[in-house]
Symmetry: C2
Subunit: 205 residues, 2 copies
Amino acid sequence: MGISERKEREKLEMKERILNAALTMFIEEGYEGTSIRKIADVIEYSPATIYLYYKDKDDLLYDVQGEAFDKLYTAFTKEAVSKSSRKRLEQICESYIRFGLTHPELYGLMFTYHSPMKVVDDLPIWTNAQSAFQFLYDTIAACIGEGILKFQHVQEAVVSIWAFGHGLISLHNSCRLKVVPLESPDQAEELIYKLTRQFLSFIRA
Amino acid sequence: MGISERKEREKLEMKERILNAALTMFIEEGYEGTSIRKIADVIEYSPATIYLYYKDKDDLLYDVQGEAFDKLYTAFTKEAVSKSSRKRLEQICESYIRFGLTHPELYGLMFTYHSPMKVVDDLPIWTNAQSAFQFLYDTIAACIGEGILKFQHVQEAVVSIWAFGHGLISLHNSCRLKVVPLESPDQAEELIYKLTRQFLSFIRA
DNA sequence: TGTTTCAATAAACACCGTTCATTAAATTTG
DNA sequence: CAAATTTAATGAACGGTGTTTATTGAAACA
């Protein structure tokens, strides 16, 4: 009975086609430019077909968010490779900032938009962010273990460092840094990298 | 010629009626629950009428954002009154955090949603945030003048402190702190206040 | 009183997410 | 192989959205 296996494989392939179209559209057109109808157009199926593979749009965007977190985790494992936990933390932060500035729309889906989190509301845990989060957590735990950070509790350190980086990126990506007089867009990005390094120096023991 | 004056007054009154309805609806129903048609329903006019007073929905939401910033500035002036600039900075931060946690939807309109910022795109400056921002800026400038912060440049201090507070609030309001194992929602809020105080201690000279 | 100005609106346009009865093809059964 | 059944796909509709425009009717002016 190879038929049911083939059908299941085709089902997965179709779901992946939808996901890829959604991911591409999201990167190129952003949240507002990504609609079920346009995705259906791209994959040359009717809008109703998408609902055979995804419960609703939030469900689909949750998987797109998952892809985005895969990209972030890949960036971490490629760019934060130092054996020194202190240096690795710096590399993670820089990698995180670069990701947020380079992929603003994906970043919004990962950390800002409510839509994909509606799926998580019922669930006990938000698995999409798990790998990337664990990578940061472990590195900070190592730092604290070595006594090179002012923090005593890993959880507090993680939330603080994350919040600082996220605050900078999200204020920048949402154009809120416009209240701050800056000479150029480049200056804003350079400031963000600088302030991150400065923050890390402030929390060093 | 009192007629043109009366007409202008009526025009302003109508615009205010629309604005108040939008503000109330935004607080109670949030961004997604606020539509032109529902606002029109509340004020008992047709949807098209709103477009005689506001160019588009973004234009209206920009004014709602302005009202929200007025509320924040009022909170600042009421809750951050210490003569000590160091203490006043702490009061501003606590006031900011409390505002963000108490009015999540308004906070999103002020610092997250793109919609109201489309109006600012063409403008040279984002005036809505001016007063509240200046209040923070002046206090930090005083702190640096007294040499009680590790920062040398006011701009860098403002962006860093703001980003830290904003990061905490926005991660919390968008449910992203779900990756962090916390025992209760209350614990999350208490953690946010604690980390803010801790951050301020880290940047103290 | 007749004319003009203008605020308000009904109706339409072009989208959106989503549901459901119908169709047609693939699979299983007799 | 033919008939019955399962199932993937869809057309059409529902109720919603922001926005535009031609039309109406009342107020202001001459």
